[in-house]
Symmetry: C2
Subunit: 130 residues, 2 copies
DNA sequence: AACCCTATCTATAAAGC
DNA sequence: TGCTTTATAGATAGGGT
């Protein structure tokens, strides 16, 4: 059942400052987060680069985007930017742990694949080949 | 005052596929990366959320965005999404290591602050208060 | 049902030719 | 403010927990 009472006033300019209204903030967060992930996805494809994004929502839920996968990019980042020397053993173990992780990693991958899928789906829907 | 001689065909649509030309790719990468970081920065401000982004360039250079800092967000992400049980000691040590990191973290912070600065600077330049 | 999140539509802002 | 694409504010509906 579609009820169209009124036309909206269209896109308004908003100042870049914290949105006071909670429900408005939630909607904006959701929309802009998906816009951000879409941009990241396009950058990956256009330039053949690897990107990981982690976002904590206002409700403290973690959202992630990763191409190819968040975990592998984090491992790589941590490997190339290692903590101070005295900590390198623990760090190395962590990197190995992540490489060998299985059950958890599968869940992570699934989540990320679902994210990617959603993005790809959106991209495919309204677009005709150019 | 801007003079335009003739109307063009307007903004061109580009296909989302790997850019073949190397220098064109480099330009696009640079522009879209800063656009992505700017969007992330706006999302942080509008919604008061925390975001970390890691990008590996075509030349394997790492670029990062983090509000408040990449490291703290990664720690939080890794803490909330822990690897399987048998690895938790190493993981815990890593988390501690990152919390206690000093010299390296200072460098990271500096890099990130410079990134933020660049973004804020760009935002300020072409915008007049509405 | 209070919260959190997502989806859809329109009009329009913003950006890039 | 030519002309076009894109992102998104606003309004609202619906879905999941």
């Amino acid at each position: 059942m579609v009820m169209k009472k009124k036309s909206s006033s269209g896109r308004q300019k908003i100042p870049i400052e914290k949105i006071p209204n909670r429900s408005h903030l939630q909607v904006t967060f959701s929309k802009r987060r998906s816009g951000l992930f879409k941009k990241a996805s396009e950058l990956c494809t256009l330039c053949g680069v690897e990107i990981a994004i982690i976002v904590f929502s206002p409700a403290e839920k973690a959202f992630s985007f990763g191409h190819p996968e968040v975990e592998s990019i984090l491992d790589r980042y941590l490997t190339r930017n290692p903590p101070p020397r005295q900590e390198s053993r623990a760090h190395q173990q962590l990197v190995e742990a992540h490489r060998n992780a299985n059950v958890h990693e599968q869940n992570m991958k699934l989540t990320q694949i679902l994210n990617q899928l959603e993005i790809e789906k959106k991209r495919g829907e309204g677009v005709r080949p150019n």
